[in-house]
């Protein structure tokens, strides 16, 4: 079971790498932010799996905190940062 969990964690980390590409590539600011949110959710899953693999229950608390706060960055982006212009994409 632990091996499987570790493998799934690794698989999710590779998923994160793909999301990282989207963050870097865009094309739009919103896509980057969406990818960052995917990052958050996947991160929560990786943390839960790590807690199991490493047998460290406090890591579940980290996942919990991350899940609790996951909304803040997205809302801050939508309500405070995202403007039609004012940034230049490379």
């Amino acid at each position: 079971m632990s091996e499987l969990a570790a493998a799934v964690a690794l698989f999710l980390l590779l998923n994160l790498a793909a999301a990282l590409v989207v963050v870097a590539r865009g094309p739009g600011a919103a896509d980057r932010m969406l990818a960052a949110l995917l990052f958050g959710t996947t991160g929560v899953a990786v943390l839960m799996l790590s807690a199991f693999v490493l047998a460290q229950s406090p890591v579940v608390d980290v996942a919990l905190v991350l899940a609790l706060l996951a909304a803040i960055a997205g809302i801050a982006f939508a309500r405070r940062a995202w403007q039609a212009t004012g940034h230049d994409d490379a």
Binding site: N15, G26, D31, A45, V60, L64, L68, A71, R79
Partner: protein, 103 residues
């Protein structure tokens, strides 16, 4: 039996995450990418939380794991609402990748 259920759920969760990532990479506009993201990986988180809760050593830790799922759901609902509303307010059209950016 428990072992088997956990394994299946974990693999299913991984599959959902994979689908979400593919959607993020392939779907044409912000709105549909929102769908890909919020549906797929919340199912993914749910499956994995459930899989691990089945393996948990106590009720408390199982409940904690299961609490994570609704939290993730709530967060993604709030965020996708906020982003979709903002995208609409900024006049981001459907089906046109990256149209919110100036050329």
């Amino acid at each position: 039996m428990l072992e088997f259920a956990s394994t299946a759920l974990m693999l299913l969760g991984a599959g959902f995450f994979f689908a979400g990532t593919v959607g993020l990479l392939r779907f044409p506009d912000v709105y549909s990418r929102l769908h890909a993201l919020t549906k797929a990986d919340n199912l993914g988180v749910g499956c994995i939380a459930l899989a691990l809760a089945l393996q948990a050593d106590g009720l408390a830790s199982a409940l904690k794991l299961l609490l994570i799922w609704p939290l993730a759901l709530l967060a993604s609902a709030a965020v996708s609402y906020a982003i979709a509303e903002r995208a609409h307010a900024l006049g981001t059209p459907l089906g046109d990748a990256g149209a919110d950016d100036p050329p």
